[in-house]
Symmetry: C2
């Protein structure tokens, strides 16, 4: 008996009631019983189960049934393995930043759609916000005075009808301001009727996935890509097919080869996450051609295009779309702040109608607390002013970070992409790659109190590149060199010889 | 050819590509193609299809496949029948208040989980808020001055970390205020760690359904019950099993008989929606016994218990629950206003942990715009003061409505339940019932510009009772008699003889 870590005995499922006459397959009954017991606290973290053979004997079912239930609960994160190989309830307390394991390829069809996989998987946000957290904006110069004044103004004497319920599409004035904003900042021409106010990108992706997809449908996702956004797709039962990204963006021909039957394509064409690549016009047209030919939907997540200057900006996919099949996502999380949970999508009117009706049933509408205030905030020009100021701030931070990397780790890291945004990827050189993996590098840095995301965390399959993802939204220019000096001292090639020198630099 | 309403020809699906080697069943491929085309506007409302035999011949599949696709799209509301019986794209423009058709019994397992049923189904909210809309509160005396001041205060100089992201469980101060509020107003003892801030009941039900249920799982729902809340369950693939409600609340023994394998029970024990019955203690214990015995979850939607005076209040199910299997839902929609989209749930800590992790992935957290302000609003006592004032206001409105019904339609309607809230049900007497159905009554009243919900709209199966659901949250006391006079003139028994008298009353 393995009780090295937990003195408790390994438990059986002898008490569990199995209903053989039920239409629900046995493995789902077993999985539901265990999931239930974990969520109710009856099976505590660390509790170990008897072997699958013994449990199968107890329940009078085949061992395959037990193993299938195990697999499902492993995939959902409710179960884990002990060092000695027995099955235990996963420890929630021990959760830490960790990518989806390559051992459970997400390209397999999600067999289990109903129960969200919720339990002991790591929460990427646990360490948010570190100074290098990708996507975290700087709020220190945000015009809170105007924002708070407009919130008060919106609520001092509101119209009765607006207090009772907003349309599921959002406040008409906010939709209209977003349409003008997109026209002037993004060069995307759309009417207010094509805009819906959302509760942010993840929530919008959740809804769109459930509208568009049937369980088992294939979806092209970028590899590497934004892992957090993939959860909503997976919860809708999608089969994610990772499609590689090269220096021109998503390799459409690879998508055609790997998943010709995909029903949806999710892309970040203007500033690919995480690589920062801008998708070339030819690729964009190729992508749209394919979507038109196969009659499928495209979600364009334009998550921080606002920080690019207009002259360096390619047209949005949505602008090139003649058939109304691109659903454009934007967010206020980066240009204002994440906790608002406010974003928008732009799509053809038929889709908007369907989306709004779905929302009316499922979560009614995005909170109305800030919608009118935000419309006024945009109308009075505060958002544009803040955005212009932050473009300069972030460009300077990016420059400082790139310079510090170039000066302190020239043999170890290369920064390729030149567009602005809130993060960059420093790819490992061959030298560096021979020395360690990006996960090892991140682990060493974490030990030194510096949280940087390993690039390989953003891959679904075996990572083809190694690197570090540096968010710089909250990095002060004057901190770039000292921080990179510390990083070089921890993982840099010269540090192995000159670590004492590097350590001295810390006293700067 | 039926082209009576739409001059266009009936269309075929000849151009559609069918992939016989795909794992996706043919009927789902056909349904997806049509749904897609409707959402993109390619198939406009009113467009008619060829007969199923012709389409089957064109596509080279069996007619059953086509009929199965039709059924699915009917159920989702994308298709409708023409008067002559051919199949057409449902008209969104013609949507109006209408219950789910009894012809498509919702008790059948939902076969189609992924694509939310979104298209042309009626939006119950289209006519919100009429004066009799159930659940719509009066906001005219809401302390907007304090609310707007606290919003401003919360945002004038916020803590940086809170702007970046809130915990998925909600702002700690709001969770703590909710816990005290429930203790003092509801007599429900809980710790802040057992509270999660939600974006309202529908959204919370959506998440809980997806956590707890596998597609095909049975759920007990009250019959009659809150139809809107059932959509989230259906979207999660649940098989709804309507369980009758009598004068002691949900008939547990009927649930045991009808769906002994149900995985979840959703109830409104303190003020059953719509009947207003309070579930007796014996029934509550019977319900919990069953849940304990079968290891299943119970969602207690306590949507407006706050309006009851504490001395008339029975303990929450959650208070009686020793095993942590009751998930308690509350909302600020009624005691403040719906457009906030703020609510909460109370559950055992393991469940909360799972719920929070799921949210972190799917929609991150409830908007942070109002959370701190609401915590302060509660801490300063404004919510309690407003609640106490509104209890008196609503009690007076209820009294006025009951009196007016008693005085003007004594032979037609009976109001049984005596508890307070925001709505009541006036049941049809036998005399009234012989004269017309509640749907007919509602249609007549609608013609006169008065929107009242027919009770039978809240049934999933054949309605066992007829009546009218009157919301009175926004009914001024002085309007009760004039409005009921108009109603009596339209549908009352005496009106047939004395309609000219009744019409005179209108000049009041």
């Amino acid at each position: 008996m393995d009780n090295s870590r937990h003195p408790s005995k390994r438990v059986s499922l002898a008490g569990m009631h199995i209903d053989r006459s039920s239409a629900v397959p046995l493995h789902l009954q077993i999985a539901a019983h265990i999931r239930n017991s974990i969520l109710r606290g009856v099976f505590p973290a660390g509790m170990q189960f008897l072997g699958s053979r013994e449990i199968a004997r107890e329940l009078g079912c085949s061992r395959t049934v037990v193993l299938t239930a195990w697999d499902l609960l492993y995939a959902e994160g409710y179960l884990a393995s002990t060092p000695r190989g027995s099955v235990m309830v996963a420890s929630v307390a021990a959760s830490h930043v960790e990518p989806p394991s390559a051992a459970s390829p997400a390209t397999e069809p999600a067999q289990h759609v109903g129960a969200l996989a919720l339990a002991a998987r790591p929460r990427l946000r646990d360490h948010w916000p570190s100074v290098f957290a990708p996507g975290a904006p700087d709020v220190s110069t945000f015009p809170f005075k105007d924002w708070s004044r407009l919130l008060r103004q919106a609520w001092q004497n509101p119209r009765e009808q607006e207090c009772l319920d907003l349309p599921p599409e959002g406040h008409p004035r906010l939709r209209s301001e977003i349409a003008s904003f997109l026209g002037s900042v993004r060069g995307l021409v759309c009417s207010p009727e094509e805009v819906v106010v959302t509760s942010g990108t993840s929530g919008a992706l959740d809804f769109c996935s459930r509208m568009i997809l049937d369980p088992g449908d294939e979806v092209w996702v970028e590899e590497p890509g934004f892992v957090e956004a993939r959860w909503a797709l997976t919860a809708a039962g999608a089969k994610l097919v990772p499609i590689p990204v090269d220096d021109k963006g998503l390799v459409v021909s690879e998508g055609v080869r790997r998943a010709p039957r995909a029903r949806l394509i999710v892309v970040t064409p203007s500033h690919q996450y995480p690589l920062g690549v801008s998708m070339g016009l030819e690729r964009r047209l190729e992508l749209l051609d394919w979507a038109n030919k196969k009659d499928i939907w495209v979600i364009e997540d334009d998550y921080n295009s606002e920080f690019r200057h207009q002259d360096s900006m390619t047209a949005a996919l949505r602008s090139l779309d003649r058939e109304g099949r691109v659903i454009y996502f934007g967010t206020f999380s980066k240009i204002m702040m994440p906790n608002l949970r406010l974003g928008y999508l732009v799509a053809n009117r038929h889709f908007i109608e369907g989306f709004a009706k779905g929302r009316a049933r499922i979560d009614v509408h995005t909170s109305g607390i800030g919608q009118l205030a935000l419309a006024e905030f945009m109308r009075e020009g505060h958002l544009l002013r803040h955005l212009r100021a932050m473009r300069r701030v972030y460009a300077a931070r990016r420059r400082a970070l790139i310079d510090a990397i170039g000066a302190l780790m020239p043999d170890d890291l290369t920064v390729s992409s030149a567009v602005t945004g809130l993060h960059l990827v420093a790819l490992f050189t061959d030298v560096m790659q021979r020395r360690m993996s990006d996960r090892e590098a991140a682990a060493i840095l974490k030990g030194a109190g510096i949280h940087v995301q390993p690039l390989s965390q953003n891959f679904l399959e075996r990572p083809t590149r190694q690197g570090l993802v540096f968010g710089y939204g909250r990095l002060r220019v004057e901190d770039a060199t000292p921080l990179l000096t510390r990083i070089a001292a921890c993982i840099g090639g010269t540090s192995l010889n000159a670590s004492s020198d590097a350590a001295k630099t810390l006293s700067y």
